[in-house]
């Protein structure tokens, strides 16, 4: 079972909203490590809670609507339990809460995001967002390497 789960989510037919999906697809193609499981998905659904519970580290990749277009952020995510309202798609924090409450495991997690500019119909990312993708991928890779180094004190895990 992979120790690190990468979840890139968004709608690939809605321009910048497809950032997470597109990056996850690129990481999936480049990934050769059995330690890393990459899943591109449209949205975070409850059934991903069990998958997340198997991981020691979960990295979410999403496009943000908050901030200045092109702004790249990485923030640690903590489980958010208690009353919440949803139907079948979740926020990263709620997904972690579900993993903790249902399967007894809450992995460490980070959300990598770039603030989007265009959300119209289309498969292309805006130039503003597209320009930041290499940096985002680099940050994801570093986070994985740091985690593996800290956990095992050795080895490099390359995902892109």
């Amino acid at each position: 079972m992979a120790r690190i789960l990468v979840l890139g989510y968004g709608n690939p037919l809605r321009a910048d909203d497809g950032l997470g999906w597109q990056v996850a697809v690129q990481l999936f193609r480049a990934n050769a490590s059995p330690d890393v499981h990459v899943i591109p998905c449209h949205q975070l659904t409850p059934d991903l809670a069990e998958t997340a519970s198997f991981a020691e580290l979960v990295l979410f990749i999403d496009c943000s609507r908050k901030g200045i277009p092109g702004e790249l952020r990485c923030e640690e995510i903590f489980s958010q339990s208690g009353p919440t309202s949803f139907t079948h798609d979740l926020s990263p924090a709620v997904l972690l809460a579900l993993a903790a409450e249902l399967f007894g495991v809450c992995p460490k997690a980070y959300l990598f995001s770039i603030c989007g500019e265009k959300f119209e119909t289309g498969e292309e990312l805006s130039e503003t967002v597209s320009n930041r993708v290499p940096e985002l991928k680099m940050m994801v890779r570093r986070r994985i390497e740091e985690f593996v180094s800290a956990a095992s004190g050795s080895g490099r895990v390359m995902v892109c």
Binding site: T45, P46, D47, P83, S85, F86, T87, H88, L98, E101
Partner: protein, 481 residues
Amino acid sequence: METAVSKSIVIDPVTRIEGHGKITLHLNADGRVEDARFHVTQFRGFEKFSEGRPFSEMPALMARICGICPVSHLIASAKACDALLAVRIPPTADKLRRIFGLAQVVQSHALSFFYLAAPDLLLGMDADSAKANLFGVLEKKPELARDGIRLRQFGQQIIERLGGKRIHPAWIVPGGVSEPLSELNRDAILSGIPEALGIAERTLDWFKSVMENFREEIVSFGTFPTMFMGIVKKNGGLTFYDGGIRIVNSAGEVVANGLDPADYPEYIGEKVESWTYLKSPYYSQAGYPQGIYRVGPLARLNVADRCGTPRADQELAEFHELQRTAVLSSFHYHHARLIEILYCVERLEQLLTDPEILSKQVRAIAGPNSLEGVGCCEAPRGTLFHHYKIDEQGLIRWVNLIIATGHNNMAMNRAVLQVAKHFVHGDRLTPGMLNRVEAVIRTYDPCLSCSTHAVGEMPLVIQLFNAAGDMVDELRRPDRR
């Protein structure tokens, strides 16, 4: 002199359904509900923008209509394309398509029952809306929440193993499927059957144990005479993939049997109303609106004589005992959904252990041999029709889609009216009233994105209008997704 004033209530958005809609309740001068309408406010237009595309693209294009039941659109579309090719697909391809469809029914029904309906069933119709979700279920009955997640995962993983991805897989193609099933994938899927069967059986047992708590809802949740429609095998057995159309009346008597789905324009009319983007299909021999019928799990079990798998057959026999006539309450859509899950899991095992299932002959190759084709299957929410016309170059010239949720449009409107008449009194809504009005819609598990073929966010509202047409109250819940 005091002027009598009638009023209306609007519920917008309707929550825990797929897509967005609005409900308006119209009150008479005495403050009693006189009329109710379920408005579907989304519009997409897949039928129009696929014109001019090569027909071979249609399955992949049509799968984009919905993120919940793309497989049904793939199947119906591919079957319409098979008709354009005028080919008979290889037997193994037929079986693999069936497996794909059954897996989707499992995951879609699991989503509907465990994620959307279970909060009402477990916490009650008057529960705090902030807790009426999967976390509420988790708090009160964690094993139910866990079962829901595991069961949906089971269905999703079959789709992923066969189609390469969970959402919008393009594995089903005109003439068959693009890849055979590997032994590894077959064995992996089979290994999940015992757990899925266990979940289906214990959830059915639990549902039957709490049904008594909903006596009032059972008699008032869309409990009225309609016809029921679905496809059945030649022996009257339940099927999701192909067969003849059967229609039964509210007494459970067969009105029409063995109708060819390709002839649907001869027996289904489509009425367009100005207040909704959802069309209102009806049985044309009975006229509009008398030709009202329901489709989906409740209808399928009302039209089927048997399931064809041992455990589901036992449950079906018990289900048919609920009423001497057809089972009329839309509340029993939930019950029917669980029986169908059980059937699907049993049927998956039968198909996966078929000696031919690993055959490499899975696709018939041909060019277009017919200029018109109809594909029909049973989607989780009911009968689905795809009808295409092409030109000599194989380019799409005309498309008509009749989606499961559309078939139920008239019935959903009537159900909302019945629930509103029973539970809504006065000119203000209580959360319990609101939830029951929404809950009756949830029994149908409508997929508005599918049925209007919709884009964008249009959450649902309940609005209350007086006799003079003035809005006097409005309840607008935040989008809870």
